[in-house]
């Protein structure tokens, strides 16, 4: 384990009764890295982070968090980890300022200010809106200056402005060298924030890597759509467009063209349009997103078994 290794998980297994929730999972998080755990409900994401925090005892596997074993030394681990948990609460009558002092032993004025809670310092937890509660949990996760931050459904219930504010704070954590383990269903959030994304299904890693790489592998084609007047068909017809580099497929229906292909197709189709003297007013380009990649990946995985974990470990290592 090197100095930059913050989380190292090998062969993690956890079952609830007969149901295996985490099944041989490997995971690495380095200092200053944001790693996202994504997958459908029941994929084992939350159980994984609970094991990392020492809140659940794994059935098998080895875990190291900042050189400590969360099973044998849970309190050493938790002292270095800040977490914002899914489905947890504070005492109803505990005030915001009291919560920060209780969890951090200090006032945390800067954090309260940063997350727009300074005015709510004397408000009871029960009186906070869902978004305010979420921001308070973030403040509590960060108040001790942790080396690893675990964020489970980070921006659930936040309005767009608050969401961007939270994203900026997470970016700052990375810049400060803090490791972040992000569990989320918001794939635009994972794409925007994460250095690496680990896609899970049925307690196993399906694929892992930087979001861009996952999109390239599983996201499917770029789609370019526009209408084409009949008098342009001789110069920009499907046959001509299909011959352009990067274009895989062209379909034409009722005057509307849809071109599928790689990223290179965007430039070549654009150049062809300009040289033909036609700039379509309804031109649109749809890039595949991480959501497209994950949906494709999970759909394919749904028809077959999750991949062997040894292979997954190599896969994770390959993208580091």
């Amino acid at each position: 384990m090197s100095e930059t290794d913050v989380v190292t998980v090998r062969g993690l297994r956890k079952s609830y009764g007969a149901r295996a929730v985490v099944d041989g999972l490997d995971l690495d998080v380095k200092a200053g890295e944001i790693v996202g755990l994504v997958g459908a409900n029941g994929a084992g994401k939350t159980t994984t982070v609970e094991c990392v925090q020492g809140l659940r005892r794994p059935d098998a596997g080895t875990l190291r968090v900042l050189s400590f074993d969360p099973v044998a030394q849970p309190e050493r681990v938790r002292a270095l980890v800040g977490s914002q948990l899914q489905s947890s609460a504070l005492p109803d009558r505990l005030r915001v300022g009291e919560a920060v002092r209780l969890f951090g032993g200090r006032n945390g004025d800067e954090l309260l200010e940063q997350f727009g809670l300074a005015e709510r310092r004397r408000s009871a937890f029960a009186s906070l809106s869902g978004g305010e509660r979420q921001r308070l949990f973030l403040v509590l996760a960060l108040v001790n200056g942790p080396r690893l931050v675990i964020l489970d459904e980070l921006t659930q219930g936040l309005d767009p402005a608050a969401r961007r504010n939270v994203w900026a704070a997470v970016d700052q954590l990375r810049a400060d060298g803090t490791a972040v383990l992000l569990v989320t269903h918001e794939l635009d959030e994972a794409e925007r924030l994460c250095d690496r994304v680990v896609a899970m299904r049925a307690g196993r890693v399906l694929d892992a890597g930087p979001p861009r790489d996952l999109v390239a592998r599983h996201g499917g084609a770029v789609r370019i759509c526009f209408t084409l007047p009949a008098d342009m068909m001789s110069r920009l017809g499907p046959d001509q467009l299909e011959a352009l580099p990067g274009v895989d497929d062209v379909s034409y229906q009722a005057g509307a063209l849809t071109i599928r292909g790689g990223r290179a197709a965007i430039a070549h189709v654009g150049a062809a349009l300009v040289s033909a003297g036609w700039v379509p007013p309804d031109l649109s380009v749809q890039m595949p997103s991480l959501e497209d990649a994950l949906v494709g990946l999970l759909e394919r995985a749904g028809t077959g078994p999750a991949r062997d974990t040894t292979t997954e470990h190599e896969l994770i290592g390959a993208f580091r």
């Binding site: 609460a89 005492p91 002092r101």
Partner: protein, 245 residues
């Protein structure tokens, strides 16, 4: 001392003062019922009250109503509510040791008993007067061990019962028979044999006997003190084990 524990105890003590259930059952209910029942039988010593002033008999008895309200209602409802809503999980994830919460509940429960008892005695002093304490050491020992036993029972219930509602239901079912037969209801002399037998098996009756008999110098409190001591040891041991101390 562990700073996290100090912060937790301080927060829990603060929260206790804002909890309506605590204020109602631990601080208000014993005082109001003591004022009513304590005044119902006059002040003339009577055979039903071991030949002591009935008001004084109830003043000494009602200290243990505070203990029962704390241990059977306040602590279990509070703890079960925290478990149900994920508050304990939140604290555990933040690095508060598992045992710190049980210790905080124990300290808070004992503080509630001490404060509410002081309030009760202050009101009693102003209304019925405080009876002479015949055996101070035995009285204090009975009171402290009884409080420890019932707060531990409260921790135990709070860690077993799945929700605040179930804790409240079980707590009330345990509290009212204990209150009526073992501390604040009619004197044993006025009960039929069956009720007197049932009352004799209630833990609160033994705590009340230990405190009241030592305080008023009636009967022999030694047997009840031994039972209360055994109860305190057993309840605390079970609570410690259950809370993972």
């Amino acid at each position: 001392m562990n700073t996290a524990l100090v912060r937790l105890v301080r927060a829990e003590l603060t929260l206790m003062t804002r909890e309506p259930l605590t204020l109602t059952f631990v601080f208000i209910f014993p005082v109001v019922t003591m004022l009513i029942i304590g005044g119902a039988f006059g002040t003339k010593p009577d055979v039903a009250f071991d030949w002591v002033n009935p008001s004084h008999w109830y003043v000494a008895s009602y200290l243990t109503v505070v203990i029962a309200a704390t241990g059977l209602i306040m602590v279990p409802v509070h703890l079960a509510s925290y478990r149900e809503r994920g508050v304990l999980r939140r604290f555990a994830a933040a690095g508060f040791p598992r045992w710190s919460f049980a210790v905080a509940q124990l300290v808070t429960g004992l503080a509630a008993v001490a404060t509410a008892s002081a309030v009760l005695l202050a009101v009693a002093a102003l209304t019925y007067g405080l009876p002479t304490v015949h055996h101070p050491a035995q009285t204090v020992i009975g009171f402290v061990l009884g409080a420890l036993a019932f707060v531990s029972i409260g921790v135990l219930l709070g860690t077993v019962l799945p929700s605040a509602r179930s804790a409240q239901a079980v707590g009330l079912v345990l509290f009212f028979p204990s209150f009526l037969l073992g501390a604040g209801g009619p004197p044993p002399y006025a009960m039929g044999p069956a009720l007197r037998t049932v009352a004799g098996y209630l833990p609160l009756t033994r705590v009340t006997d230990a405190v009241r008999d030592s305080w008023l110098g009636v009967g022999t409190a030694t047997g009840s003190l031994l039972v209360v001591a055994a109860l305190a040891v057993a309840a605390t041991a079970l609570a410690v084990r259950r809370a993972g101390l």
